[in-house]
Symmetry: C2
DNA sequence: GAATGTCGTTCGAAATACCGAACACTCCGG
DNA sequence: CCGGAGTGTTCGGTATTTCGAACGACATTC
């Protein structure tokens, strides 16, 4: 796939650092990433010039993400039917079950949430949306991984390397992951109990686009206190309907 | 401000190209930006590797914005109190007047919308948000420009160079802009009639943060058919209240 | 107030990323 | 079936960028 451009890689590393820390100074970036001091100066200077970073008002040597970043993100969201339609359908499903609903896509071995609806806060737009989580710890992630070919899975989760965990119950080994995915493929629904969060369970269903490819997954998250075998079945049904509805809006014909 | 890093500049140029065109191939990017063919290959390869671009499914040589872009934008939105609170207050104001409400910030000589509420479509989240318009053509833009120091204005709009227009009524010359801004400073409210759009008028008020700096502006847009001297006064009052409410949420004390 | 450490900024030699040339492949029209 | 245009891919010399060293500004400590 050609060679990669180191300067761009570094610039993106810097930008992505601001996904974890709100404000950073140049020495801090230097310490975190290990790039030469002067190079960090030049890179940050360039990013500021293009307003992907901005000095925080009153402290000209500390930086934050700038509107440039927002502009790009919004352009993506506007293009993607998925974010528009996903938001609408998520809100419907959230209203029907009174629980939190997410829509997410796969990026490498992590999931990125692109839409969210919470029954009690109907317009909770920019909260967790955009956040990244390890795919193998979430129901949406498992659903999306189940749709991949085996050789792609081997690339992402090579046998032998064990996986980062979010809770005690998170899937720990590639072998475990594979047997789990097999079961999910059989059922067409992914379920997860306290694997991404101590107190939350989750059901997810696959979303397909015009071409029939699985491009996203939709999930319902429930605090364990409201979770039961019976409820799980109802919610699975509901999220499956939601996923079909969203697929249809994306041009998929059943 | 140090030197800038050409490779990063080019990478950003490429990304921003996707703000105008939804899908692009490498030859198209080459034609648009004039960078050497092989360089475009390397840059795009790098951006794809980091998932700021993705090949469109089925057409491995055409590209779209990827989730990486979205991730960054969402991180910005999440950090900025302005986007969160702005969305909430905009919705309130929209409900009160039954018109479209925007919140925008200044980036160079353009404005970027960071929140929007439309009375008829309460959750219209990712529509025009993130879009960029020339500041001197919009009410929000004029309001924000009015808050700048004169020397900054001289940099952005040097005397003699005339300005791009969106409609026949758009401000055309720097001189005109300056007299207009003086009037806006006097009143504390910006008004605009068919200067950004043939059929729309607009009132805007300034939003300040904790430190008292003007960081954004809020506007109400009205189709000219519903516009009148009397209504303008009412809406100006309303948007001023909204702006104060938002300022307060950002920690500004009156 | 001298001494020490941190950090922003400048500058030029050394390293390396960039880009042109050449090749390979696909798609068309003849 | 052939030829040409358009595009993806490879590779190496050289123009460019990178990064260390040096300096100055500022803060902090003794």
């Amino acid at each position: 796939m050609g060679r990669s451009v180191p300067a761009v890689m570094r610039a993106l590393d810097i930008l992505e650092l601001f996904g974890t820390k709100e404000e950073l100074s140049i020495p801090e970036i230097h310490a975190q990433l290990g790039f030469p001091r002067t190079s960090v100066h030049e890179l940050v200077g360039t990013l500021v010039e293009r307003s992907y970073l901005t000095p925080v008002p009153g402290q000209p040597h500390r930086f934050r993400l700038g509107v440039g970043a927002f502009h790009l993100g919004a352009a993506y969201a506007e293009r993607m039917d998925l974010t528009r339609e996903g938001q609408t359908v998520a809100a419907e499903v959230a209203a029907a079950c009174d629980e939190t609903v997410h829509v997410a896509v796969l990026d490498g071995s992590s999931v990125v949430y692109v839409a969210k609806a919470d029954s009690t806060h109907p317009v909770r737009m920019v909260s967790a949306v955009g956040r990244r989580l390890p795919a193998h710890c979430t129901a949406v992630g498992l659903m999306l991984l189940a749709a991949l070919e085996d050789n792609r899975l081997d690339e992402l989760f090579p046998i032998g390397r064990n996986l980062p965990a979010l809770t005690e119950r998170s899937i720990a080994s590639p072998e475990q992951l594979r047997t789990r995915l097999a079961r999910i493929r059989g059922r067409g629904i992914a379920e997860e109990f306290c694997e991404s969060n101590e107190a939350v369970a989750c059901v997810a269903a696959p979303v397909a686009d015009r071409s029939g490819r699985i491009v996203a997954a939709m999930s319902i998250s429930v605090p364990t206190m409201r979770w039961s075998r019976k409820r799980a079945g109802e919610l699975a049904e509901l999220v499956a309907q939601g996923a079909v509805s969203l697929s249809t809006r994306l041009g998929h014909r059943g």
